[in-house]
Amino acid sequence: MAWLDTIIQGILLGGLYALFAAGLSLVFGIMRLVNLAHGDLIVLAAFLILVLASVLGLNPFIAALVAMPLMFAIGWALQFFLLNRTLGTDILPPLLVTFGLSIVIQNGLLEGFTADSRRISVGGLESASLAIGPINVGVMPLLTLASAIAVIVGLNQLFYRTSLGRAFRATSDDPVTAGLMGIRPKRIFATATGIAMVVVTIAALYLGTRANFDPTIGPARLIYAFEAVIIGGLGSLWGTLAGGIVIGIAQTFGAAINPEWQILAGHLAFLLVLLVRPRGLFPRAVD
């Protein structure tokens, strides 16, 4: 029975990684930009929720709701005033600027919050669990997976059902002709990053409540998000969820064999998929 439990835990963990990856996949789909500071922005959001929860005495879920508009604004401004300047044919500027940003955020947080590891406490919920048949499953991991699915459904609705979603896709296809329709690409990119930061805030809530975190764990989260996006296939949000789950299961199986092998197993799963299906499991022919 143990292996069934490992798979369930893997799927639930996959929900967290899908949340990490959803924002990355959205921004890449629209403007071919990969933000190397994506993981650090998740950690930044976690600290923001922690501060709101402790200073305003809010329940973490409410604190996350309050943090969302703030993170949207941060994302919007970051794209409009900084990252838009790096867009263009040369791949160096966006990579080196976002790498610099990652270093700046990490050390800014270290200066502000020291290197101590923190946790957002949700009280009893942390240890609460439900019994589903023979397996008992933690409430928070279940909530994480549910949120991941909700986010992906929400993003898909936004992308394929709304006028803003049409504008995203049109700008990604052909920014010049999008201008002829009255679309202003610079603002559309800023809105997209803003929305990505809202998703990052949800991811940060579950990251912060699930385990300890400190200012230096951003890059590892970036790598899990990246692996989920690549395994899932570029530009496909459902693919990103599947990618997250593949990484989650690989990690829980790795941990089951030897706790030190958890992360390594995730990476090896990624390399295996890259070897067999270089365009990911569900390529949606973005490029």
Binding site: S163, A170, G182
Partner: protein, 234 residues
């Protein structure tokens, strides 16, 4: 006072000058055609009016206002919609979505809506769920025209509508123009197919190497004059 006017419009790509001081005028309700050989600067003229190429403020006037320096989003918002050369539909949008996005920058109510565009080009109602670019060249051209009409523009710019289309399809598309005019749009049409242009236009400008070489009503333009203005050689 003309509805739309260019005054000594100059345009260059880096060190290559494409337009050498072009003056054209379009009155309310009129249709003008701009003909000329490939590379004569016709498309550059359209890109300058539509805001893809930004120019001197006073180079382009619309309803008396200087719009030469405005970018494309501001110009479509004022009511000048463009059917770009090569149609440029959005591949990841369906036919209907391509039409809807035409209103994104100018959601003005008027004659044109999804229903009236489908009446103008009935085939599109059947194909509305298809991806924009999975249609024949002629059908794509209809979507591009419909997309521009969706913003109920006061001026419709059409760039090389007949490009790469079979003659019968061209006739089919041009058949829609009387109804487009009737709905109140003034039209600037850049065309390589002189035959079609002469039939539809109230006035014609001929361009060669970035200059207007001939202008007038279609009736008083003889084949020789066109040939000379077209090739620069009698």
């Amino acid at each position: 006072m003309a509805l739309l006017e260019t005054r000594n419009l100059i345009a260059r790509y880096g060190d290559f000058q494409a337009l050498f001081g072009v003056d054209i005028a379009l009155d309310q309700g009129e249709t003008i055609a701009i003909i000329g050989a490939n590379g004569a600067g016709k498309t550059t003229l359209m890109r300058s009016i539509s805001g893809i190429l930004v120019n001197q403020p006073g180079a382009v006037l619309f309803d008396g206002a200087e719009i030469g320096a405005l970018p494309a989003p501001d110009i479509v918002a004022r009511g000048i919609a463009m059917v770009p050369e090569g149609r440029k539909l959005f591949p990841s949008l369906s036919v209907e979505e391509n039409l809807l996005i035409g209103r994104y920058g100018r959601a003005v109510d008027g004659h044109w809506s999804l229903d009236t565009v489908y009446e103008l080009f009935p085939i599109l109602r059947e194909r509305r769920a298809n991806p924009g670019t999975a249609l024949s060249g002629g059908q794509q051209q209809m979507v591009a025209i419909g997309r521009a009409l969706m913003s109920n523009p006061r001026v419709l710019l059409c760039d090389e509508i007949s490009l790469g289309l079979a003659p019968v399809v061209i006739k089919d598309i041009y058949a829609a123009f009387p109804r487009i005019r009737a709905a109140g749009a003034s039209i600037v049409m850049v065309e390589q197919d002189i035959g079609q242009a002469l039939m539809v236009a109230d006035r014609v400008y001929c361009m060669m190497e970035g200059r207007i070489t001939l202008s007038g009503a279609p009736s008083d333009l003889t084949r020789e004059k066109i040939h000379a203005a077209y090739f620069g050689v009698a």
